[in-house]
Symmetry: C2
Subunit: 133 residues, 2 copies
């Protein structure tokens, strides 16, 4: 990995961390800002959301039902070429069903595939999260 | 994408298809052959499996409990650089709990991150599957 690529690692990790922390505070605008226009979410319990128009709709629906209180751990940050990278992470915490107040422990693992935009910003191109417990 | 890269797309897709079909017939050796030595599985209901030694253990445990009968659809095949690619797919079908015979419908979506080995073989480097219904 050359100097310019390793210089990107902090920015790549920052995009994933921005996503994870925005998700945890139910900040839909903050979440959407991390996605590329053609970004895709693959998550438990629903068909994938493809592109900003679908992503804008899916997150408010999630937060209407569930309050997440998750801590994240970044497992690895890898830049695979000039404009592509991936981040693997794990999240652990509790989720509360807002309608009932029922609280349960949960863990997820996440695979972010990121792409550098023409203006040098690392965005989420594809993102898959799976519920590990 | 240059000629040699587009020439790789069939091989990239073939690795994902080999994985999905081997999984469906409970072919652990066939599954393991698609992974890189440092390959990682992220799947519902368990912590991630990191590297061939862990992967060898996790799949037999899954197939001991559940019989999957899934059809796959490849959604996209993208080569991001000379040695990296991703495949997105969806699977739909039924799973049977072997202990009870209980059958349920299920759907999953999959994100494969593949790397070309030094000997020119496309292997699964990271793989995340999420249960969408």
């Amino acid at each position: 990995m050359n100097g310019s690529m390793s210089g990107d690692l902090a920015a790549i990790e920052a995009t994933a961390v921005t996503y994870l922390t925005a998700f945890n505070r139910e900040d839909v605008a903050g979440i959407l800002a991390t996605y590329a226009d053609d970004g895709i979410l693959m998550a438990p319990g629903r068909q994938s959301s493809v592109g900003k128009a679908q992503l804008e709709k899916v997150y408010p629906g999630v937060f209407e039902r569930i309050d997440f209180n998750m801590a994240y751990e970044i497992k690895e940050v890898v830049q695979t070429c000039a404009n592509w990278a991936f981040v693997r992470s794990a999240t652990t915490g509790t989720e509360t069903i807002k309608a009932t107040g029922k609280v349960s422990s949960s863990t997820y693992e996440e695979l972010f595939l990121l792409r550098k935009s023409a203006d040098g910003v690392w965005n989420i191109a594809r993102y898959c999260t799976t519920k590990t417990s």
